[in-house]
Each structure stands twice: as structure tokens, then as C-alpha cells.
Symmetry: C2
Subunit: 338 residues, 2 copies
Amino acid sequence: MTGVVVPIDSRSGRASVEPLVQLVAGDMQRVNRLILSKAGSHVELIPEIARHLIDSGGKRLRPMLTLAAAQMCGYEGEDHIRLAAAVEFMHTATLLHDDVVDESDMRRGKLAARMLWGNQASVLVGDFLLGQAFRMMVDTGSLSALGVLSTAATVIAEGEVMQLASARNLDTNEDEYLAIIRAKTAALFSAAAEVGPIVAGAPKSTISAFRSYGMNLGLAFQLIDDALDYGGSSAALGKNVGDDFREGKVTLPVVLSYRRGTNSEREFWRKALVDRDNHDANLAKGLKLLQKYDAIAHTVARARHYAEMARDALAPLPPGDHKGALLEVLDFCVNRAN
Amino acid sequence: MTGVVVPIDSRSGRASVEPLVQLVAGDMQRVNRLILSKAGSHVELIPEIARHLIDSGGKRLRPMLTLAAAQMCGYEGEDHIRLAAAVEFMHTATLLHDDVVDESDMRRGKLAARMLWGNQASVLVGDFLLGQAFRMMVDTGSLSALGVLSTAATVIAEGEVMQLASARNLDTNEDEYLAIIRAKTAALFSAAAEVGPIVAGAPKSTISAFRSYGMNLGLAFQLIDDALDYGGSSAALGKNVGDDFREGKVTLPVVLSYRRGTNSEREFWRKALVDRDNHDANLAKGLKLLQKYDAIAHTVARARHYAEMARDALAPLPPGDHKGALLEVLDFCVNRAN
């Protein structure tokens, strides 16, 4: 065998979400138009809050999955636009409710909606967006897509309740943590990817390939997010580092560091996360413990594992620009932490 | 023309919801079993909270409408059970979110879920129940029923936001008040009644008759509820009287009394509802003003108007036990205020 061996690191070092963005750019414009029109309401407060969220510059990764998957399956109708918009509305509704539940002040570098319009409006506008999401799904007439996304809606809520119940609980083990992120994050990634081939009438094995790709991408994505909350591989103090620490969230870096630690280190985590002794000096000490036990590096390694599962899920599908772009998203996702 | 003329008051004086309860008793048992099974989750907190609400003894009026309407249209399948359960879940989700938004302590004479498990869990379990409601609708395979109920979901949220925006706003006029209760209450009554004939494959005119019946029953129901909050026709201080007063809600009795009042009376309402000068002495004074302007009696009269619209909506349908029971619900509803 001859040829150039491209080492994984160099392949992934250049990875970007840009090829995916380019492929779905035309469809995404239509999604954005639909989102703006469906965020409208004669009730003034609703479009105001919805616009705040929609304009706040999320990556729209979830609806991109729906669009790319449908395109890859040769779909030429309109329903993937509706489903992509529905997916983004479900995500936005979750963010609104999450910020209320977590009492968050900020979202994507801007004030959270609840800080501007209050918890009450955030709960209700979330409900409105969820209702609109279902109306768009109904417009597609696809009961199969409706089934997948309504199931995702309940699973996401279950995941959030699980997270609530496990907050500040240092007995949470890796499996329990995984069950939470699988439900609260990966389920929507999975559903977003799955409804693309569904609406395109693709065969069962293709639908299942995209479901699996989305689920594992979602797990990798959340694992990296949780690693990034502690500054990623550098695990150094910086802007926005330590939000989870201050909120007492028991994410995988903490799970690993806690379980591998000494009794006195466990006592430190207990004081910091349960008793909320979470000032910056303690955050710095926490970061040191994460490094001591390679907790960030191993969280990234876990993410890489799921990214590889996602890659293999798509393996049977024919090569092409779309497949290439979706695979590159996996590398991009994992490399964010470096 | 001979015969005994039954005056409306005596007809309605005996009116009860009992005939309706009897007609749907068998189906309602199945609805209750489905509700219990769909309130289940491997996430412990969810069935606990769901059971608290389900056991708290609501009248289940909305799912009864679905069942009775489907039966009246000769339906013999299973889907009306699923839709009735979905309607009750949507209602329960709304209650959970409402109590958070209104910061209510009590619900149906018991502590509100948020007092027992917190606002966070109330928001999330509401989301879970909404998701489960949509899954049950999807199980029926009726896109038409899904369309009606998903539209109701967005309209309800719009109504709640409108109510939020109009809270403590004494400029609210009767039309604006009606728009709020039409959205937040009547839309679900309407949808509940409409999906019965839809799933039974009834003709368009029948579907529209039930939609109209439900909408107007819902308006009458909420108007009476708002009258009862001030003690009904007696307009006297008593148990649970004045909750809306204390919360600064601008309901029709207040709208009428405020708009008919003198400048100094308007100033009183402003102080009581906007500035929250809402101690018992002021509630007593408010009740006197409601009586002075017949505000409760006229609220009940308005309710009677919508009840008559609901009655006429069903008029073209053939007579029978079901129709009789549904008409009796109208009288029962209006007479609660006496």
C-alpha cells in the first residue's frame, strides 16, 4: 500500500463546520425566513423575545443536520425546511426554560431573556415556540417525523429533570451523567438528523444511520462543552471558565476527578459544589485537581470515542460532499477543546 | 300551543354534570389508566409530581368533552381515549406552568406542585407532559387532530402572555379580556370538543358545531370562574374569595365596575390592584363596588350569552342522551355562580 498517511491530528486540526454551512446555505435562508414568520404573533411580547433569541447568533447546528441529511438522501420537497425550523424552535424553547430553571443571567454572551423580560414570559414564550414547532411538524404531514420529534420533546424534559435531581450530587457516576446528556442534548441532535432521511423516504437502515450519527455527535458535543467549561485542554482560568463549577453542576470532568481523588480532595469538591464554597481561589484549586487526574483530557477522549461511533454510523453511506461535511463536523466538534 | 312552560331558571336549577359523567364513565376509566401509564417515567420525580396533579381531583371536564363528542358521532375506536388523555395532559401542563407564572401557593385546595417540588421541576414536568400529550396524539395518526391540538397549544401560550401583559392594567377593556380568556381557556375546550368528531370522521359541519360549542362553553366557564372568585352572585366575603383581587388580575367584574365607576372609585381600583393595596378591608370595599354596578350579575349574564351560543351551535345535531348531557353542562356551568 502506498500513498500519504494523513495523521488524525492534522486531519482534524483543520476541521471546520464551514463545508456544512456552505452546503445548506440556500436551505438555511429559507429556514430563517420561516423561523421569523413563525416567531410572529399578534401578542407583542412574543416576537420581541423570540427575536432576541433568534438574533443571538447560535450556530444552528441542529437544523443544519436536518437539512444536510435530507439533501444527502436526495430530498427535493419543502418539508425539511419546516422540520429544521421546528428543531430550532424546540431548541430555543429548551434554552428559555433552562435559563429559568438554572437561574442563568447570560446566554450566548447576551443577557438571558429572563433577565430582560422575566421568568414568567420566558416560560410562556417557550411554550409558544414549542406549540409552533409542533404546528410546523403537522404541516409536513409526516407522522413518522412527528413521532420522532415528540418523543425527543419528552426525553429532553426527562433529561432536564434528571439533571435537576443530580445537581450537587457527587455520587453521580459516569453512566448516570451519560444518561442525562443523552436525554437533554443528544436526543435532539439525534432527532434532528433522523427526520431528514425520514422525510426523504430513505430506507430504514439509512434512517437508523443518521439517528445514530446524531446521537453520538450530540454526546461528543456535550462532553466537549463540559470540558470547555473548565477551559478545555488548557484547563486554565479564563473568560467564562467555571460556570458549571459555580452552579454546582456535576459534569464528567468533576465525576472523573472526584472518583479518582483522595478523601480530602473529595471533601474539597463537596465543599465547593454542594456547600457552594465556589470562589475563584477554589475554582483554581479545582482546575489543578482536574489536571492532576487528566480529567479534561479524558473527557475529550470520551468525546472522541462517541465521535468515532458517529463516524462509523455513516460509514455504509455513499461518499460525497455531504458525508464529508458531516464527518468534518465530528472533528470540528472534538477539536474545539484544544 | 299547550303544555307546561318550564322557565329557564327551574330548568337550569337542577342542572348537573352528572349525566355527562355517566355517559363517559366507561371510557373515562380507560383514559385514567392511559394517563397513569403515560405519566410514568424512569425519572423518579416525574411520576411523583404527575400523580400529585392527577390525583388532585379535577373534574376532567375537557377530556369528557372529547369522549362525549366522539361517542355522539358514533365513534367506536380507541383514538378518542388517547386524545382525551392528551387534552388532560395539555391542561395539566398549563396548570403547572401557570402556577409558576402566577406564583400561586395553592391549586384545587392542595399545595401547588411548585410549593412541594419547586418552580424548576414544575416547568420541566410541564414540558414532559406536553411532550407525552403530543406522543399520544401522534399515536392516533390523525394529522387533523394534531393540527387542532398543536394550534391550541400555541394559542394557550399566547393567551397566557397576553394575560401577563395585561396584569394590573386597568385600561383592559372587555374585548381585550375576552381575547385573553378565549385564548387561555376557551381554545382548549374548543379543541377538546372538536377532536371528538374529527377522529370519528364526522362531516365538516358537525366538527364545526362541536368546535363552536367548546369555544363558547369555555368562555362561559371562565366568565363564571371569574365571577366566583368574587363569591358569585352573592358577592360576599367567604372562603377563597378575592384571589384575583389579591393577584391584581383584571377580570370582567373589575373591568365593568372600573369602567362604570366614578373617578374616585377608579382611583380605589388603581390603588387596590396596581399599587397592591389589597387588604381585606379593601376587598370588602371592592365587593361593594361590584354590587353597586351589578358587575357580577352582568358577568354571569355575559356567560349566559355564550352558553346560549354554545347551545345553538349544537342545535342542528340530532337529539339524544349525549346532546342532552352536553346542553345540561351549559346550564350547570352558568348556575355555579348562583
